[in-house]
């Protein structure tokens, strides 16, 4: 691999490292009484933001409380993710195309797993409601969108990547670009 590619892979891993310092995802809620919005930030190891207010409001529709301790993911993710990022640096150091393929595979699996898990949680919170809730609307569930906006009663719910998530995304994009570019080189010159 070209030195430039190695540097780019290292940069990609470095960007992914930002997930330890920056929130990955955010769920925002806007309502007439909350023009400033309520926000919930999802990190590698937990949730911050207006969680208490959101829990307070959610109890009317019988949604389960959002409690960080209830998510096994936050206990495992910081370690699992460390291995993945470390592997990225390893790829940059060795500069082997095969290894890059392997890393790319891991990243894709991780992303698919992550989004699926996120969707399942959203589904659970949105559908498994307390049957004794004060507010019950026939046929209504409260699952926030995976990504984008959705109106849920008086709240407009948005689910979007946060700054850390954007950095991780850019890292992933760089890694794919390098893979693509290296293959073009390989096909052009047939070299190893």
């Amino acid at each position: 691999m070209k030195t430039k590619s190695k540097i780019l892979i290292a940069l990609s891993a470095l960007l992914m490292l930002s997930a330890y310092f920056l929130p990955l995802w955010k769920i925002i809620l806007e309502a007439p009484q909350y023009p400033e919005g309520l926000e919930m930030k999802i990190w590698l190891n937990g949730i911050t933001g207006n969680v208490d207010q959101i829990n307070g409001l959610n109890h009317y529709i019988g949604m389960q409380l959002i409690v960080v301790e209830n998510f096994w993911e936050f206990k495992v993710l910081p370690y699992l993710y460390a291995v993945i990022v470390a592997f990225g640096f390893f790829v940059a150091w060795r500069g082997k195309l095969n290894l890059l393929w392997v890393w790319m595979g891991i990243l894709v699996v991780f992303a698919v797993f992550g989004f699926t898990d996120f969707y399942l949680w959203e589904y659970d919170y949105g559908h498994n409601l307390d049957p004794h809730a004060a507010i019950k609307v026939e046929g209504m569930s409260y699952q926030p969108p995976l990504i984008g906006y959705k109106q849920l009663l008086n709240f407009l719910a948005g689910s979007l990547p946060d700054i850390g998530g954007i950095f991780v995304g850019i890292g992933g994009f760089i890694a794919i670009s390098v893979l693509f570019f290296e293959h073009k080189l390989k096909n052009k010159f047939g070299t190893k």
Partner: protein, 657 residues
């Protein structure tokens, strides 16, 4: 017959018609044609300034937005306020304690913003209680009265609570001179021998704001009306106006208006402070209450103090000088540069402007015209006078300053505000106000750096200015634009109580440190309930403590049994909400106190004595949520001595003891 010709008829009647038609005109009302635009604050937009106006006989302080004139909040200070339980709930009752016991009312006159380097800093606002002499401190991050200190040896705390440049001290001087406390059972007609004035210096801790009566100075027995601290060059001095230097004790209307001149009293507080530090103060017994609201425990405590340090000017005549001032002066106001003192003699024909430099010269040269009270020097009027504003109007009362070198003085009798120039004392403009203004207010108008832009007239009479409301009418203020050469009336707006005086401050100085709610984890209330799981009822003899929580939309516990007639019941309600603007209220049938209005993260206690067996509903009084109406409970009261067990809970969590 020639005399009755048409021509001669016209000639004869013309002067008559002219005489009737030439009734001298009044100055017409000059409402600015752009007024609506200048005072309109569009929905969702915020005002430029806060105005804090005293509530006068309401005992409270009100916050308004300027230029809209919208009432934002009535801050309870000296008067009980059923609306939020101030002075009714167990936490705030001690705030209204005095050496006379519980005094749930006062006459609040002069709001004073705390100052740093002579500028309003937006940390606290102080206000005096005139009747039972007190000074209150309001925290402007929470708009709550957090401290009230009583002033001993005082009566009619009117010349108060004006502060020094860095809020080192607030003063309180006596509108009523009185005999020494403890030796005051004397005939009233011994006024001249026995009565004296008394200046209190209340220190203010520059970090916590905590107040203390640092020392008092006994001064001659005149009536002390208003005060202002010097600033810059005159920063070490405090100026007071006096009336009744005649020392009348009856029919003051006449007897206290005889002399051509009363006095401005100049007091060197730095010197007094040095004397106190040097141990010259005499420790004198005095009884006065010091009440403090702790914003962590949300609970007030009242401490009765027993002594005060006193200096008598008879022993330290170098502390004060009297400056003759025509006639029964009200306001004494120091220019932003601290060089001049303007004293408004309410019965005087001219407005004297005194020079601080000349005052120092006169003191140095002993330019005295005599002494009063034995050995207190009276300086020569002419030797201190910078000049007089001639024919300012009738009944000058109070002056403030703008940022462009102009002064504004209210004329109580001629019902107008007069604008004049400091540099040459020339009158520039006058504008009628409706009616009879007392004080006026320019934002920062008593500080080193006036903000200018507006003057507000604080009127004593409204009469026909609003829709009538029976014999008792609203009080009123008027907003006037002072950006141009001519003053322009912008807005009339009603106020609470009597707005004796007001201070205005750019909003940003206050909004930047606003508290939105109290953090529940920082709540140190003795009876706090931090989690609904801890909600409970505890009986100790005939005392029943109910640890109750409120969160949208239920009170826990909401079913209580086992309370008996003769019990003393305390509802300790903690609002568990942690969001902006979600108060919960609490009321129970038959409570002869008031309701509670509990802010998020706060705990308040309502004491209740059930007087009969029966079922007593209780509920949240603040429309908190869609299910507010469901936020209710029942308390069962059984006859005295009955065996009903203590039982309480909410939903399926019911506990029986």
């Amino acid at each position: 017959m020639d005399l009755l010709s048409k021509k001669s008829l016209i000639l004869l009647t013309t002067p008559l018609i002219m005489a009737i038609g030439c009734k001298p005109g009044k100055v017409s009302e000059t409402t600015d044609t752009d007024a609506a635009k200048k005072v309109y604050v569009a929905p969702g937009k915020l005002d430029e300034l806060y105005m804090f106006a005293s509530g006068g006989f309401s005992g409270q302080l009100a916050a308004y937005g300027i230029p809209s004139g919208r009432l934002l909040k009535v801050i309870p200070v000296f008067a009980q306020n059923a609306e939020n339980g101030w002075g009714y709930n167990e936490e705030t009752k001690p705030m209204l304690n005095t050496s006379h016991g519980f005094v749930p009312w006062d006459d609040a006159h002069h709001p004073e913003l705390s100052k740093t380097n002579g500028e309003d800093d937006g940390r606290w606002i102080f206000i005096n209680g005139n009747n039972t002499p007190r000074i209150a401190r309001i925290d402007l991050s929470t708009f709550k009265t957090v401290e009230i200190i009583e002033l001993p040896n005082s009566a009619g705390n009117h010349a108060s609570p004006f502060c020094t440049e860095n809020t080192e001290y607030l003063v309180g001087n006596t509108r009523f001179s009185v005999p020494e406390e403890g030796a005051d059972d004397v005939p009233i007609d011994t006024y001249k021998e026995n009565f004296q004035g008394n200046v209190s210096f209340v220190s203010v801790d520059k970090n916590s704001g905590a107040m203390d009566v640092a020392f008092q100075i006994r001064v001659p027995g005149f009536n002390y009306d208003l005060a202002h601290a010097g600033k810059g060059p005159s920063g070490d001095w405090m100026f007071f106006t006096t009336y009744n230097t005649e020392q009348a004790h009856t029919l003051l209307e006449v007897n206290a208006s005889q002399k051509d001149k009363d006095f401005v009293m100049a007091l060197n507080w730095r010197k007094a402070e040095a004397l106190i530090k040097a141990g010259k103060g005499k420790k004198t017994s005095a009884k006065y209450a010091h009440n403090v609201l702790n914003e962590k425990s949300h609970t007030a405590t009242s401490t009765m103090k027993s002594s005060v340090l006193v200096l008598d000017v008879k022993d330290h005549p170098e502390l004060i000088y009297y400056i003759p001032c025509p006639k029964s002066p009200h306001g004494v106001d120091v220019t932003p540069d601290g060089e001049f003192m303007v004293a408004s003699g309410k019965l005087a024909a001219a407005l004297p402007v005194f020079s601080f430099k000349k005052m120092l010269e006169a003191i140095k040269n002993k330019s005295y015209e005599g002494t009063v009270a034995g050995n207190i020097p009276v300086l020569k009027y002419e030797s201190v006078l910078q000049g007089e504003v001639k024919k300012p109007g009738l009944g000058p009362l109070h002056t403030e300053f703008d940022d462009k070198g102009f002064a504004y003085t209210t004329m109580f009798v001629s019902s107008e505000i007069v604008k004049w120039r400091l540099s040459d004392l020339e009158i520039i403009d006058r504008i009628p106000v409706y009616y009879s203004p007392g004080h006026l207010s320019v934002p920062g108008g008593d500080s080193k750096k006036p903000y200018g832009k507006y003057v507000v007239a604080l009127n004593k009479i409204t009469k026909d200015r609003y829709l009538p409301t029976g014999p008792e009418l609203t009080q009123s203020a008027q907003l006037i634009d002072i950006t141009g050469n001519k003053m322009k009336l912008l807005l009339d707006f009603p106020t609470i109580g009597e707005p004796h005086y007001a201070q205005m401050i750019p909003a940003e100085k206050i909004t930047k440190h606003q508290v939105r709610f109290y953090k529940i984890e920082e709540n140190e209330h003795k009876y706090v309930t931090k989690s609904e799981n801890d909600a409970r009822v505890v009986r100790t003899g005939n005392r029943v403590d109910i640890y109750m929580t409120a969160i949208r939309s239920h009170l826990a516990p909401d079913n209580i049994e086992g309370v008996k007639v003769g019990d003393e019941v305390y509802f300790h309600l903690t609002n568990l909400e942690q969001d902006w603007d979600v108060p919960h209220g609490f009321a129970i049938k038959g409570a002869n106190t008031a309701e509670l209005l509990v802010m998020p993260g706060e705990t308040n206690t309502l004491k209740w004595n059930p007087d009969r067996p029966g079922m007593f509903p209780y509920y949240c009084t603040d429309f908190c949520s869609a299910l507010h109406q469901e936020m209710q409970g029942y308390l069962r009261v059984s006859p005295k001595g009955s065996a009903t067990p203590l039982k309480y809970g909410i939903g399926t969590k019911i506990v029986q003891k």
